[in-house]
């Protein structure tokens, strides 16, 4: 293409490593988990996989997952 265009391509981390924004990190206690998938469904970032692993690279630590967890299986832990 002769002309340079301001085309933006889909990128994971388009705004950088957003995990760095985090103050508290969600920690899932698999023993308490009842597999309701609330955390997966309500995560604004899509950083919790259906297999219930958290992508800490990009999780911003909002805490919705912990708040919406009916079995209190997710704890927000202060980042060291």
């Amino acid at each position: 293409m002769k002309v340079k265009m301001a085309i933006s391509y889909p990128t994971v981390g388009a705004s950088g490593r957003t995990g760095d924004w985090r103050v508290f990190r969600p920690v899932i206690n698999q023993k308490l988990c009842i597999h309701c998938y609330n955390c997966y469904v309500f995560c604004p970032e899509g950083t919790i996989s259906p297999e219930l692993g958290v992508d800490y690279e990009y999780c911003k630590g909002c805490g919705i997952c912990a708040n919406e967890c009916p079995s209190k299986a997710i704890r927000m832990v202060k980042e060291e």
Partner: protein, 390 residues
């Protein structure tokens, strides 16, 4: 009597500037036309909806609710790779202003006809170049036409210039309100097949949205990247200079009508040069002939485009003529500064180190009736700015 009922295929017709514009658009086969009515452009929209409604051409006509939306719809369609056209005038153009810049920065080859008209307050529907000149920095290529034939031909040329892969910029074809939009003149039609096969390629917007490899157009952009994008738009505009000339050459070869960025009329040996745009500059040909008849060696330069500004052509034409006096007629005015066309020309003269006696005449503004006889008097004026008839 039966024979009379069968229309022979016409090669020339007698139509208004608006109809000529609509006829040209249909030949270029856009797939989307979005427009909003405004005097004196309305007939273009009406004729286009008629032609599309008659099934002369398969095209979506979007009857939008405002000019801002007209251009927005064109931007939406062009971003998906469609050939688009819109038309407007005056307040409509200014209502579009935000999207004018948008279209140019997004590098979308939209073609638009603008019927030059004055701006309110005090409703005035007559010819004035201030609407389009106020948007000259928007990044659109701007043509100014002077006959019904030229309106038609220039729109045909515009699509090719806009869609050139090195240019990818929107083009505005200006025609003087009423003086061209509503005047009827003979119009020679082009051979549609020849145009479609030899002159205008299929449209290809390289950055068009697609499902196969999704991308986003128009995200936030950092100052340094924005700077680069703007610089590239400048390069596109510069490439347009040659692309326009090449298109005009091909147009001459295929259709036999000659256009140049600067149309010279008896200027080679002129002792006084008139300079202008649009219908005023066409009528000035009459003034030149009459002055020559009276023994005054007058000549004329008519600018067909103000963006990209034809620097080389204008300097070449001025330096080739022995004229010491340059009478620049502006159908526009920048309050607190002066005639816009005159400033544009003076800048180039300064850069080229040429000193002339420049007479800047503000005439025809707001549709003021200015004749060839008036122009004969304009050459008598002295250096500086003059408001004709005040």
């Amino acid at each position: 009597m039966m024979a009379e009922c069968v229309e022979e295929e016409e090669t020339s017709v007698y139509v208004t500037g608006c109809e000529a514009a609509a006829r040209a658009v249909i030949i270029a086969k856009p797939s989307v036309v979005a427009a909003y009515p405004i005097t004196p452009q309305t007939e273009i929209v009406e004729k286009l909806s008629l032609f599309i409604g008659e099934g002369r051409h398969d095209c979506q006509f979007i009857a939008v609710e405002s000019e801002h939306s007209a251009l927005s719809a064109c931007i939406g369609a062009a971003s998906c790779g469609a050939r688009t056209f819109t038309a407007t005038s005056s307040h409509g153009l200014l209502y579009m202003a935000e999207m004018l810049y948008w279209a140019a920065i997004a590098r979308l080859p939209i073609v638009m006809a603008n019927a030059n008209r004055a701006l309110a307050s005090g409703w005035n529907i007559w010819a004035d170049h201030i609407d389009s000149l106020s948007q000259r920095d928007a990044g659109w290529i701007q043509f100014y036409t002077s006959t019904v034939q030229e309106v038609y031909d220039t729109i045909l040329i515009a699509f090719r210039v806009a869609e050139n892969e090195g240019v990818m910029l929107p083009v505005m074809v200006n025609l003087d309100g009423f003086l061209l939009t509503h005047i009827n003149q003979p119009l020679r039609l082009v051979d549609e097949t020849l145009y479609q096969e030899e002159f205008l390629d299929e449209i290809n917007v390289p950055h068009a949205l697609n499902l196969d490899s999704p991308h986003t157009l128009g995200t936030l952009i950092s100052p340094s990247d924005n700077y680069r994008v703007q610089h590239d738009r400048k390069l596109g505009m510069e490439r347009a200079k040659d692309v326009i000339k090449e298109a005009e050459r091909d147009f001459l070869r295929l259709f036999g009508r000659e256009y140049h960025p600067v149309m010279e009329y008896r200027s080679d040996d002129a002792e006084v040069l008139l300079l202008g745009m649009g219908t005023l500059a066409k009528e000035a040909e009459d003034a030149v002939d009459m002055m020559r008849f009276r023994g005054i060696k007058a000549g004329l330069l008519r600018l067909r485009q103000i963006r990209p500004f034809p620097d080389d052509e204008i300097i070449d034409a001025i330096s080739r003529s022995p004229a010491e006096k340059l009478v620049i007629i502006d159908r526009d005015y920048s309050p607190g500064s002066g005639g816009i066309l005159s400033q544009e020309v003076k800048t180039r003269l300064y850069d080229a180190g040429i000193v002339k006696e420049i007479v800047n005449v503000i005439a025809g503004v707001g549709g003021q009736d200015v004749s060839a006889e008036d122009m004969m008097e304009m050459v008598e004026l002295e250096r500086g700015e003059h408001w004709w008839g005040i």
